[in-house]
């Protein structure tokens, strides 16, 4: 800004800077793991007994965080966890022992994203959640670049077709079409919104046969 180096960061980043200045980088990096050092704010929400913001060093498993927040609420039977929010990815209860670090989430094809850990019990219709995510991105796209402007619309249309039992061909071919669209959006969109607009939806469709 004004031709000077400029930092635009959020409070979570700046509060970490304080500790680095006070105690030095090495002391700070002793928290967390080698590739994900320091602390993270985990925003735990959904079907959980004590939803809230939990500040933890990188590295606890999803299960640890869920337990810290009092365990699964609702029906008590966990269906899915959304990591990283609408632009993140769904994981299944079988993946609860994944440590919450950049490298471990990446290894299972997920993402830490914004630090969101959102729980869904088995009363939730995930198809409906996916449609809401698709509608969110269709509404949020600014419309500047083609892959995001049109891709978010085509993605929502595709989910509406699947949800209404009106697949153009087979559900498998619709899934393949969504994968192609998602790759083009991830590869060719200008910003992170278009690049991640299919991330959560595809992660759910890859894990569960939601529309069959």
């Amino acid at each position: 800004m004004f031709r000077q180096p400029t930092v635009v960061n959020n409070v979570e980043t700046l509060i970490n800077v304080l500790e680095i200045i006070l105690n030095g980088g090495h002391a700070y990096a002793r928290n967390g793991t080698t590739h994900s050092s320091g602390y993270r704010l985990f925003c735990v929400s959904g079907h959980v007994a004590r939803p809230g913001i939990y500040e933890l060093p990188f590295g606890p498993t999803v299960r640890n965080v869920v337990e810290l927040a009092g365990g699964v609420a609702g029906t008590g039977r966990l269906q899915a966890v959304l990591l990283g929010g609408a632009a993140g990815s769904f994981i299944s209860p079988a993946e609860l022992d994944t440590p919450l670090t950049f490298e471990h989430t990446r290894a299972i094809g997920a993402t830490l994203g914004s630090g969101v850990v959102m729980l869904f019990d088995d009363s939730i219709d995930l198809k409906h959640i996916l449609l809401r995510i698709a509608a969110f991105f269709r509404h949020e796209t600014c419309g500047q670049c083609v892959p995001c402007r049109v891709g978010t619309v085509r993605q929502e249309e595709l989910l509406q077709r699947l949800g209404g039992g009106q697949a153009l061909s087979s559900n498998g071919q619709e899934h393949a079409l969504l994968k192609e669209m998602a790759q083009a959006m991830r590869d060719a969109s200008i910003c992170g919104l278009g690049q991640t607009a299919s991330s959560a939806i595809l992660s759910a469709m890859d894990r569960w046969s939601l529309f069959s």
Binding site: C142, G143, V146, R149, V153, Q183, Q195
Partner: protein, 304 residues
């Protein structure tokens, strides 16, 4: 500086001082990169598109035009850059030493094909021959999103005697906005309004063109890649089925109006002028004209 320039007589103006010498620009550093396995050197500041063109590699572009600032929004020119998480737009990404680029990988072809499918499923490409050629080249199938895919279909806007604006054909390449703005005309009659799928080109407060700041230079028509913007004469001939480019002659001439000396390309069909344009690479116009040069040719032919 010491000797004062004297006018020879009161009636003859003082001769001008000699023009100061313009210092030669420092030679630009050559940057070497690799594209599709071939080495190429281009001057610093050149784009990947420049380098690809030097190698004779054809890169599709829709929102790029040599005379306009790249906006890199159509994303059809994307290429694979080693070490980059995403593809990068060739039209605007400047070369950096040692870049390794692939322009025809499966990943590049997929993005280009899907981008063309996204566009052609949303807009009418019937008057966009370049896009039609890309659609064939990349095997794009816009119909794969189904008959109910949302489109921008809408009636053309005809609210003046010179232009037709058919936004069911608009791919939002921003070229008209740039030509109307700082890249050419500095009139700023149009801009992108709205968001998302419904972002569109608009006059201020969506007023009809005659109530807007438009000066009818037609430079927006000159840069439109899809025929969304068209001279009304051409639109009327196309609607009547009488527009026939194969029967048109192109005559290069100089605009008869003012002393600027704009180069005109006069498009004539059956002995009648049907359109006037100007070459993009002409040093005077860079493709731009004013209302008189572009539309003021009726005096040359008898009125019907």
């Amino acid at each position: 500086m010491s000797e004062q320039l004297q006018a020879p007589s009161a009636l003859i103006p003082v001769p001008r001082a000699p023009a100061p010498e313009v210092p030669a620009a420092p030679a630009r550093r050559e940057i070497e990169i690799t594209i599709d396995g071939k080495h190429v050197s281009v001057p610093e500041g050149a784009t990947i598109l420049d380098a690809a063109r030097r190698l004779g590699i054809e890169t599709p572009t829709l929102c790029f035009l040599e005379t306009l600032t790249p906006v890199n929004v159509c994303r059809v020119c994307v290429v694979e850059l080693e070490g980059s998480r995403t593809l990068v737009p060739a039209c605007s990404r400047k070369v950096e030493a040692g870049m390794v680029i692939r322009t025809d990988s499966e990943r590049v072809r997929l993005s280009r094909r899907v981008v063309l499918e996204f566009l052609a499923s949303s807009v009418d490409v019937s008057t966009a021959p370049q896009m039609q050629a890309y659609i064939v080249r990349y095997g794009a199938q816009p119909e794969r999103f189904g008959a109910r895919a949302a489109s921008l279909a809408q009636p053309p806007k005809i609210d003046n005697e010179l232009y037709m604006r058919d936004y069911s054909k608009c791919i939002l390449c921003y070229k008209c906005v740039e030509a109307c703005g700082v890249d050419a005309q500095n009139t700023f009659a149009i801009a992108v309004a709205g968001r998302g799928f419904h972002a569109h080109i608009s006059t201020e407060f969506e007023v009809p063109l005659p109530e807007s700041a438009c000066v009818y230079c037609g430079n927006c028509i000159g840069v439109c890649p899809t025929g969304a913007l068209m001279a009304k004469t051409e639109y009327e001939m196309r609607s009547a089925g009488t527009w026939n480019e194969s029967r048109q002659t192109h005559t290069e001439t100089i605009c008869p109006y003012c002393g600027v000396g704009c180069e005109l390309t006069v498009h004539a069909q059956a002995g009648q002028i049907v359109k006037v344009s100007s070459p993009l690479d002409h040093s005077v116009t860079q493709g731009n004209l004013c209302i008189k040069g572009r539309f003021g040719w009726q005096f040359t032919q008898p009125q019907k």
